[in-house]
């Protein structure tokens, strides 16, 4: 686990664990969260929308990174969003800075954050 990764720890060593059908619904491989299992995985965070992602070691598709965010990881939804012609780069930390400093009011976070400026100036 890297320094920049969170940790998800699910202990079913003294538990019947998740039934296979529900494990699949929740995105787990059933063998990882069944009876007697201990599941530990790294989590990574999208720097654009703050979404937390449990890293799937079996994934073969490439993950997206944002060069405007110093090469930080971004999720698949944000990767899709940034390819749109009207996209404006507004990473999550920038949203937090604008709202916390009182320069904008938050309407909605997420893939396409919506802010209302509190000053007569476009953000």
């Amino acid at each position: 686990m890297k320094k920049s990764e969170g940790e998800l720890f699910i202990d079913h060593r003294a538990s019947p664990g998740m039934p296979p059908a529900q494990a699949r619904q929740l995105g787990y491989d059933p063998s990882q969260v069944g009876e007697g299992s201990l599941f530990e995985a790294a989590t990574i965070q999208c720097q654009h929308c703050n979404r937390m992602v449990v890293r799937n070691p079996l994934r073969e598709r490439e993950r997206a990174f944002c060069m405007q965010c110093a090469g930080a990881y971004i999720c698949d939804l944000c990767d899709d969003e940034r390819r749109k012609p009207d996209y404006v780069h507004l990473p999550f930390r920038k949203v937090v800075d604008l709202v916390a400093s009182g320069k904008a009011t938050l309407v909605s976070m997420g893939v396409r954050p919506l802010l209302v400026p509190t000053e007569k100036k476009e953000i």
Partner: protein, 170 residues
């Protein structure tokens, strides 16, 4: 600032559908329109006496909890360092309300999806430095976060569990 822990213990969490107010939960909301709060850790210990697979989710609220109740035993909310300086803006941290917070169901808003079996299972998530779950302000869709049991992923039964969240307000 000072890290704090809020606990919700000895409750049986019923699954909540999308766009419905949660009844058993842990929620925090900014004490002002500019306050930033980071969630650093969540831990849930299953206390059920029979197998109850649960879908635990973390989401921003689309409707804020109405009239949050003061924290009462056996639940608790306090600083991890006992002599921590009091905050100018006190975080609204609660485990009960007249109407609980409604978790956001928008596909474009982040939501953490964490499942485990409440019959003996333990679930813990720790954030990496700078990768906390962050909320800002005290409005909907980003100013309040709720940890709840969700029914949209197939959970049907209610499960007893003890939970805590470590958070850090600024």
């Amino acid at each position: 600032m000072a890290k704090r822990i809020i606990t919700n213990v000895a409750q049986t969490w019923a699954p909540t559908a999308n766009n419905v107010a949660a009844t058993q939960f842990i929620a925090t909301k900014g004490g002002s329109t500019t306050q930033v709060i980071d969630w650093l850790e969540m831990l849930l210990s299953g206390m059920a006496t029979s197998s109850i697979p649960m879908s635990i989710q973390v989401a921003y609220s689309s409707t804020l909890g109405l009239t949050p109740s003061a924290i009462a035993l056996p639940n608790a909310d306090g600083p991890m360092l006992v002599n921590a300086t009091a905050l100018a803006n006190v975080v609204v941290a609660y485990t009960a309300a007249a109407t609980g917070p409604t978790p956001n169901a928008a596909a474009t808003l982040p939501r953490m999806n964490l499942g485990f079996n409440a019959f003996g299972g333990i679930l813990r998530w720790n954030a990496a430095p700078t990768q906390q779950w962050t909320m800002v302000g005290n409005a909907v869709n980003g100013g309040e976060t709720v940890l709840l049991a969700d029914s949209s992923a197939g959970q049907s039964g209610s499960g007893a569990l003890n939970a805590h969240v470590i958070y850090e307000p600024y």
